[in-house]
Symmetry: none
Subunit: 255 residues, 2 copies
DNA sequence: ACGGATCTTGCACGAAACTGCCTGTTCGTG
DNA sequence: CACGAACAGGCAGTTTCGTGCAAGATCCGT
């Protein structure tokens, strides 16, 4: 091929090859680019760290395999999420109208609902809607909008408008951060508006937050702490850390 | 098949087969992938430990119940659906606004879309929305409404209202029956109204129908045959059976 | 132009991964 | 119960990976 090839050129070519062929083998690259296998390995490793491909034994594959942000978040503290979900599921009674926010914890809640629950569930999250589809007693309403690929929830004016028409008994909010003074916070501005609309339309607001979300705050403020009426968290949290929430009149449940 | 196959590719392919066929046999996989049964067993065991399938004696099954009507329908004629989906995916061009109806064939179409497609996709189907979430170039709009548990699509006034606001380049319709004289038919009245609204809002109407849906009719009429501008079907259909559709001015594509 | 800092590359060597084969065990079926 | 198929665990051979190190290239300020 060519005697001289710049590092960046080589890496660009690797990515190009990955796009066109769907995969690359370290051995082939080494032979075709006429560099040592070590150099190829280094290239692949750094391209992986840069998030441009997915390194596997023997070569590399396109990144979109299963590395979605949602899937990776679902693997964080799964037992805490499950226990919170079980505890929260007990709060739901037959005949209620329930709003389920998106997120991995609320998805666990959806899985934890008893099979014979009779209720009306409203959600912006396609995965939650799917999880509830096999519950014969549930009427599942999907709130439409533009899909946020990371959070797998719908956002936008259509979603907000939909919640204006709904008076729910309870909303289960998957919070990104819950701070005693700052309140409920999240990362995304569009999601914030949808969450705020959910809160507006619900009589009771239950926040689901595992221990490392308590006392933290994200960039976007959704609502003040007093908007929350109940908090479900896991057992790995100091009793003292819960005091500010109790003082604010919030009923705190530890799973 | 191919001489060299990466471990990750092999496992991805196993999951793909499991998704489309509903089950896999260790012996078959060993023969078709050209690896020893031991390797297949190891793959299946580790995929099971990762929670991606359920290992059973002789092969593997989907992890979460396969009892849903949707899952069982997905296993009918998977090859035909996949080939139709691939053929239909070629019809979509960058920049288009595409409506995707619900159903197992259109879900396959969603899986068949190339990863770098840039388009706007509107759908009533949560599973399709999820399948498209990892395509960075797509803007996915979920149309809200009440979820039909069997078909896994949203229906109702909200959905119909949403489609009134949309002018799409093309709609891909998963038809339950397509009869030369009766036209497009389906089983559910609510779904019919949503499908009709989709058709109203699209410049081109592509019907996806495998061979045993052609010439059949379901209880509810969605639209006359002339509403369809293009038909994608599989290769297992007589040329003669396609003649009525061609005579009606429909462009027929056989996958 | 010179010298040092930084980067890149290739090599060596031990660690890890993957695969296939073997052995003994378990499972499903007649 | 008996038989064959499928399974789990251990083992060895091969490939691939990661890291430390040294040689060459490039850059930059003096």
């Amino acid at each position: 091929m060519i005697g001289c090839m710049l590092t960046d050129e080589r890496r660009t070519l690797i990515l190009d090859r990955l796009r066109t062929q769907g995969r690359v083998l370290a051995t082939d690259l080494s032979a075709e680019l006429d560099v040592s296998p070590d150099t190829v390995r280094r290239d692949l490793r750094e391209l992986d760290e840069a998030g441009l491909l997915r390194r596997v034994h023997g070569g590399a594959l396109p990144r979109h395999g299963d590395a979605s942000p949602f899937a990776s978040r679902a693997r964080r503290a799964p037992e805490a999420k499950a226990s919170i979900a079980r505890r929260a599921a007990d709060c739901i009674e037959d005949g209620q109208v329930v709003i389920l926010d998106g997120g991995t914890t609320t998805l666990e809640l959806a899985h934890a609902l008893r099979q014979d629950l009779c209720a009306s569930v409203v959600t912006t999250s396609p995965p939650i809607a799917l999880a509830l589809a096999d519950h014969p007693g549930l009427e599942v309403t999907v709130v439409g909008g533009t899909l946020r690929p990371n959070a797998l929830v719908t956002v936008g004016a259509a979603a907000i408008e939909a919640f204006r028409m709904i008076r729910a008994d309870v909303v289960f909010l998957g919070v990104c951060g819950l701070h005693p003074e700052i309140g409920v916070t999240t990362e995304d501005l569009e999601e914030r508006h949808v969450k705020a609309a959910m809160i507006e339309g619900a009589a009771e607001v239950v926040a689901l937050a595992d221990h490392d979300k308590l006392g933290t705050a994200m960039p976007v403020v959704v609502a003040p702490l007093r908007a929350v009426t109940r908090l479900v968290t896991d057992a790995d949290v100091d009793e003292a850390a819960l005091e500010p929430y109790r003082a604010a009149g919030i009923e705190v449940l530890r799973a």
